[in-house]
Amino acid sequence: MAKKKFVVGCFDEENVLFPAVKKVRTAGYKIKDVYTPFPVHGLDHALGMKETSLHTAGFIYGITGTMTALGCITWIFTKDWPLDIGGKPHFALPAWIPIIFELTVLFSAVGMVLTFCYLCQLAPFVKKHHFHPRATDDLFVMVLECTDQTNTAEAESFLTNAGAIEVKTEIAEEGWWFGRYDKETMFFEQKTVIA
């Protein structure tokens, strides 16, 4: 966990945001992320992100559920304790379809949600740095990652020219940590050492 310097530009219109993203990327700035209050379709492509493969994971979890249900029921009813139910076959596949289907859905849904939470680092008590409180309200917050060479003043004015209504430079923690939102987390760097 290390702190980094970021230049933040806030936009209030999608129609301004999209050309701005294009301009900022062609100018060679590295966009860390754009925080939006709702899913803006096409923004992921404009930022050059790959498609998510979450659905593939969902498919794999689903198949796991199918196999678990089929395997368990088959073993139980043909090997472990073959039960005579009205003289019907022990391997009664049609009668198992409902349970196999339900377990497919259950595994897939639970697995996907857990994977989603893991990938996005979402959990109770997880805390992250928020660049702007209105990012979940009505602003599209573009965050540029700075290196040692970045001239922050220049980047700020670039964002203003691209249509940002508010710009600032922030030094912030990049990752996530455990904490509560009603308390400021104090990091080691912020402590003043008394000699």
Partner: protein, 479 residues
């Protein structure tokens, strides 16, 4: 900025001159304000009902199922009727959020959050009935297949009653996950504008540290879409499996192959009616008329008249098949026990026909579909009718066994049976009152997503898009 435009002719989904901030304001305000007196009164009544239900169930657990007026022939009475009734109600939420998402119905955004909440609470209520019907409820875990020291003695995987266990628990889990994953961004909205420390802390925990990052939104969209894809067959499977509880038996009146589609249509019918009952009140109390518009109410009334008619056709098909099969027992079940005003339970059959088939036909009239008063009144009638339907199916099929010696005396519920039912109303409304006060009752992020294409003040801009050539439109919006 998506590859979509809304025709100008369509009614707006959001009324008023709104911007994104205004949407947040409107929906979060009830959470931040103190509860009104009406809320306290409603909540108090719900909790009282719940407590009465808890006492009724306590008596059933301590003294046994004998506290209910079930008898040797009517082994399933009010309890299973109420179970099927609540499960049916719990179908609208997932239908609205999943099937309408796949069909790209924009109007779902206004009502999906409350409908999903209602689904979850209804399924919670439904689950109580089979669990306590077991009698020795402390052994309820026997329905789970786990290696045990009794053989091991496994559950019967060929039994529809076990399919039900899997179906209902899966349905509850998946609906809960779907609902909560949609709530994360909205909790984050409440958290970021919270003024008090407690609210910031609690909504901070509930929002799981959501930031609104583009990558997270991309995954969130993929998650919602796949969960919708999974929930669509799931929601159909659940009531299908509930109908198998009856259809796979050999009881006259239950042994019917049309049960699955007929039950699913009935479930959607009653679920939408319950959504109407709640939304007509919620939009008024919280001043959300701009988001849950008359257009939304009308769309749901259309679903009600459609599914009500499907159910009506199913009733007539049943009657026809009972005649056409020339089976004596089927004929007795349908023409003596049910469609006969002078049989002991004939009143319930005619009540069902009136409430489910005849009266909803008034919704062919646009004026009545768009009347709040009629909608509210109808929504209650529909649910009364759907309760009758389940009562008819269960009780009129079993009150007279094959042997006249085992014909039952007239079945009417005991006070504790009624108390149990009232108790689930208490549970349902207690949960719903808490939800309405502390959760965003409308999906904020989803409303914002459709605002610029379907909001009243933005609709005019759509004419420009409408006049563009296909090539120009695709060039501009496709990435």
């Amino acid at each position: 900025m998506s590859l979509k435009y809304e025709s100008q002719i369509r009614e707006p989904l959001v009324y008023g001159n709104k911007n994104y901030h205004q949407v947040t304001e409107d929906i979060v305000r009830p959470i931040e304000a103190k509860p009104t007196r009406l809320w306290y009164i409603g909540f108090f009544i719900s909790v009282s009902l719940l407590l009465f239900g808890v006492y009724s169930v306590y008596r059933e657990v301590v003294y046994g199922v004998g506290e209910w007026n079930l008898n040797k022939t009517v082994g399933w009475g009010w309890d299973i009727t109420n179970f099927v009734w609540w499960v049916g109600i719990g179908h609208a939420g997932t239908l609205i959020s999943a099937i309408l998402l796949l069909f790209r119905q924009g109007w779902r955004t206004g009502v999906n959050r409350a409908a999903e909440a209602m689904t979850i609470f209804a399924v919670m209520c439904a689950g109580q009935f089979p669990i306590f019907h077991m009698g020795r409820v402390w052994m309820a875990f026997f329905v789970m297949p786990y290696p045990n020291t009794r053989g091991p003695l496994w559950v019967n995987f060929n039994s529809p009653l076990l399919w039900d266990v899997f179906a209902i628990s899966t349905y509850f889990t998946v609906s809960l996950l779907f609902w909560y994953s949609g709530l994360l961004p909205d909790f984050a909205t409440v958290r970021d504008r919270a003024k008090t420390k407690l609210r910031k802390c609690l909504y901070g925990i509930a929002s799981f540290g959501w930031t609104g990052s583009t990558k997270h939104w991309q995954r969130h969209e993929a998650l919602s879409l796949v969960l919708a894809g999974l929930s669509t067959p799931l929601v159909l499977s659940v009531h299908t499996i509930v109908s198998f509880d009856f259809a796979t038996s050999v009881i006259p009146g239950w042994h019917t192959t049309i049960f699955p589609p007929y039950f699913v249509a009935g479930a959607i019918f009653s679920g939408f009616a319950m959504v109407q009952t709640l939304m007509v009140v919620v939009r008024k109390v919280f001043g959300l008329q701009d988001y849950v518009t008359i257009g939304h109410i009308e769309a749901m009334n259309k679903v009600i008249v459609l599914t009500g008619s499907i159910v009506g056709i199913a009733y007539l098909t049943e009657l026809f098949m009972a005649y056409y099969s020339q089976s004596k027992y089927e004929g007795y079940a349908f023409f003596y026990s049910r469609a006969n005003l002078f049989s002991p339970y004939g009143w319930s059959y005619y009540g069902m026909m009136a409430c489910n088939v005849l009266i909803p036909q008034i919704f062919w009239s646009r004026k009545l579909r768009r009347s709040l008063f009629v909608t509210f009144f109808m929504s209650i009638l529909v649910n009364v009718g759907m309760w009758f339907e389940r009562f008819v199916i269960i009780v009129t099929s079993i009150y007279r066994d094959y042997l006249p010696s085992s014909w039952s005396v007239y079945y009417s519920p005991s006070i504790w049976e009624i108390g149990f039912y009232l108790g689930t109303f208490g549970l349902f409304f207690t949960c719903f009152f808490l939800f309405a006060k502390y959760f965003p009752t409308i999906a904020i992020a989803e409303i914002k997503h459709v605002l610029k294409t379907s909001g009243e003040s933005y609709k005019n801009d759509m004419s420009e898009v409408e006049n563009e050539s296909t090539e120009a439109f695709a060039h501009k919006y496709a990435h």
